[in-house]
Amino acid sequence: MNPDAQKVTGAHVTETPMQAERATTIFEKSHPGRRAAALPALDVPDRDVSELLPAGAARARGPRMPEIAEPEIVRHYNRLSRRNFDLDSGFYPLGSCTMKHNPKLHERAAALPGFSRLHPLQPAERAQGALELMWNLERSLSEICGLPHVCLQPSAGSHGELSGLLLTKAYHEDRGEHRTKVLAPDTSHGTNPASVTMAGYETVKVATNERGGVDIDDLRAKADDSVACLMLTNPNTLGLFDENIEEIASIMHGVGATLYYDGANLNAVMGVSRPGDMGFDIVHVNLHKSFTQPHGGGGPGSGPIAVSDRIAPYLPVPRIAQKDGRFELNTDEPKSIGRMRGFQGNFGVFVRSYAYICSLGAEGLKAASETAVLNANYMLAKGREGRVGKYLPVEFDRTCKHEYVLSAAPAKKELNVKALDIAKRLLDFGYHPPTIYFPLLVDEAMMIEPTETETVETLDGFIEALDKILEEAERDPEFVQNAPYTTPVRRLDEAAAARNPVVTQDLDALA
């Protein structure tokens, strides 16, 4: 717990040293003539650049990049780094994001020159180790998802979604069918409907029943032969496993639609239940969630897809193939949808996720999911009592999977503090807050995902902090409404930023 959080009691707020530092950009730190890089000397005949370029093609004035020496670059970014909260520094129960520990071995392995310095167009016979790694990862993900074919190409979850929808389109068109709609529950992640639109379909919302699952009657009413696909997360974004999954699958397959699994929540069911066995045709896996790719402050990620036999002919190229113990990249797949991006995907992410799967093995992966579910249910149970239970009740109260969703609606009504206020006050206590205001179905939602790599002491500490904040709110709601107090900056004016967007620095003003 952040010791400063204790000091802030009541209205008396002193500025912390970090707050007292004014933010300065690297452009503002520049001085003419300073530099870091030394480039190789010219060892070929000198030429006039303008002679080597067509008329009008040369740049008149060089771009105004920073002018700063290496020690100052290091200090600048080190200083900025201290203004970030990160997983290695504290608990990060950000629902739907699976902020589990990122093992340090993975960074060392990914940096091996045989991986990090390998050109993506190196012919297959000279990239056998990389292709073997990709093949092994494909086979592992295939087993974990329970579907025979895997393509590693998509760059993130939403990219996997778009790929899956394009595969669905190609599959139906190949059968001479033209379908226009995609069903998605009202609890679905925003990327689902956004991907649907980009794939040229229309989203139709499916209602949620009183158990937090898909409303089967509503699904039946909407499922017909104009529907291409149902996109589902299971467990869903409420953290609940849909007990009717077999029936849902049979309804969709009955009308000839595909079933798409948004794998953001795979961390709940590894080695327990496989999307393929649930009846899904296409699955994306967020390697930056369940498979420990560090999130990097917003990527890189990777969103491989696993598919059934009927979808396989349409997968993006290149495809890895194994022949007589050698690996090759095939582009000659006549029914393929083509390419979702350049080269073979985010290979550096594959290295890390493959290392993770090798480390844990079959039993370790299952244990990871079991522990993630245990931790979430423990927190859920602890929070059923006291102030947390009173002001932040769980919306659908049943056994959850790896995460669960509270509603701060009573806190808002009775204490006049919103989910946002509680989240901001948690920052003072040294925690990253849960995901808030998602899923949209839950009023004042707070979505908590502890992951399997946290200790019981950490989980207890977090529940205690919530309790303390609610106690503060009982006494002095305004105090919580004005949080945070100890962070590098205090609550920021997002409305002003959007009204008058300043998204680049005015370099003319610095000259």
Partner: protein, 444 residues
């Protein structure tokens, strides 16, 4: 913990998973391994690859062997940059958000565009994202793309356009350049955007002014793929009135990594900002008036607008964009020009030197910066195989994507390729071509 929950075993927590969808038995995966064992296994796999430090590489065609200064890995390895999520809580994400703001500033300045987002996945999908913006902005449904645009970019565009039913028309680049008149003829009233690359896939510098004019005359937007590392010496796309400038960021301090992760950049005119995909950091103030940054214009994005969002992108490539920003700071205002000059001069030397080799000629004459196409009087693959035995990666065989250039080879000269290495390539290339001709002759 089980007592607190009120269940007897962890298994009880999975009672809601129906038997029919439960995995019977363990996953068929190997047992777990120790850290040492895993490292040894991965090092073995890495050892089976021929990488850019173990040969002299002239291979480019989209990713390039530029020097990555040590400062990049050093800063990226800080957990405060490596391990946070997307900055949803700006009060504890000022570091990442300020990096985005600096990065957006650098990209806008490099490309000569008004605004930039905080990164997209990588080059080819960045171009596809630009196409989607153009479709939304113009309400038109056709795309016209030059055949001199990188084939992987064109393929990605086609796959994405297939989803929303837009057609993609390719215009040939006969002399290795896009011809403004041919381009103009392909554009009609339903053309949403025209796609160009500068320097193009063959390394050649296009006549952007004429091409942009041809497109704008018919009301189509212009999307230009640029290589940021050439923009120290090339006039920026923004100066020619390009509407959207995108590209691959690998050349800015990112690893080759067998193709990723790197980052895609996405810059545009001010007019298009509310349709841009991805995260954008914006400056603001906190409750006490301190300067700070937040994710802004989020009403474009999927988490707010869902099916009406301007893009589905969520996780992108923040860490790689940070690498790009550190690299640009390292290179600096003088260095970005110097590296461009070094590349263009060495490339000019390499081009002349290779063209003087028996059995080698230039495929095209147009001016180039870092990469150029030659034509071999011998089967390209045979020559490349021979060069590989000499520890040289000779480049990219153009016949892979352009059957009409079956004898073409694309050669890249980064700042890491010295004159001595270029001379060595010329010597071995000459020998390899001669040997391959003899074999072909003998077989004939």
């Amino acid at each position: 913990m089980l007592d607190a929950i009120g269940v007897g075993s962890v298994d009880d927590l999975f009672n809601d998973v129906p038997d029919g969808v439960r995995l019977q038995g363990p996953l068929k995966l190997p047992a777990g391994k120790t850290e040492d064992e895993v490292y040894t296994h991965l090092a073995e796999l890495a050892g089976k690859n021929v990488h850019a430090d173990s040969e002299i590489s002239f291979l480019g065609a989209g990713m390039y062997d530029h020097y990555q200064p040590a400062i990049v890995d050093s800063i990226l390895s800080r957990s405060e940059f490596l391990t946070p999520y997307t900055p949803y809580q700006p009060e504890v994400s000022q570091g990442g958000l300020q990096v985005m703001f600096e990065y957006q500033t650098a990209i806008a300045e490099l490309t000569g565009m008004d605004v930039s987002n905080a990164s997209v996945y990588e080059g080819p999908s960045a171009m596809a994202a630009a196409a989607y913006l153009a479709k939304l902005e113009t309400g038109r449904s056709r795309f016209v793309v030059s055949a001199a645009v990188n084939p992987q970019y064109r393929a990605t565009l086609k796959t994405n356009a297939y989803g929303y039913g837009s057609s993609v028309i390719e215009v040939p680049a006969a002399e290795g350049l896009t011809d403004p008149a041919t381009l103009a003829a392909a554009i009609d009233d339903d053309t949403a955007a025209v796609f160009l690359q500068n320097p193009n896939f063959f390394g050649a510098v296009e006549d952007l002014a004429a091409l942009v004019e041809a497109a704008h005359a018919k009301g189509a937007l212009v999307v230009c793929v640029a290589d940021p590392l050439t923009l120290g010496i090339l006039a920026p796309p923004g100066d020619f009135g390009v509407d959207i400038c995108v590209g691959e960021g690998q050349t800015l301090g990112n690893r080759l990594d067998f193709g990723g992760p790197s980052f895609g950049f996405f810059a545009a005119t001010q007019k298009l900002i509310r349709r841009m995909p991805g995260r954008i950091a914006g400056e603001t103030t906190d409750a006490d008036g301190r300067r700070g940054w937040v994710l802004t214009l989020q009403t474009r994005e999927q988490h707010i607008r869902r099916e009406k969002a301007t893009s589905n992108i969520c996780t992108s490539q923040a860490l790689n964009a940070l690498a790009g920003m550190i690299y640009l700071s390292w290179l600096g205002r003088a260095g970005i020009v110097e590296i461009g000059e070094l590349m263009i001069k060495r490339t000019a030397y390499a081009r002349e030197t290779l063209a003087a080799v028996e059995g080698v000629e230039l495929l095209f004459d147009a001016p180039v910066v870092r990469e150029f196409a030659i034509k071999l009087d011998a089967p390209v693959q045979t020559v490349l195989d021979q060069l590989a035995l000499d520890g040289i990666n000779g480049g990219y065989p153009l016949g892979t994507d352009y059957p009409e250039h079956e004898h073409g080879l694309l050669v890249a000269i980064t700042e890491r390729r010295s004159r001595a290495q270029i001379d060595l390539l010329a010597e071995r290339l000459g020998a390899a071509v001669a040997a391959a001709r003899e074999t072909v002759g003998a077989e004939a």
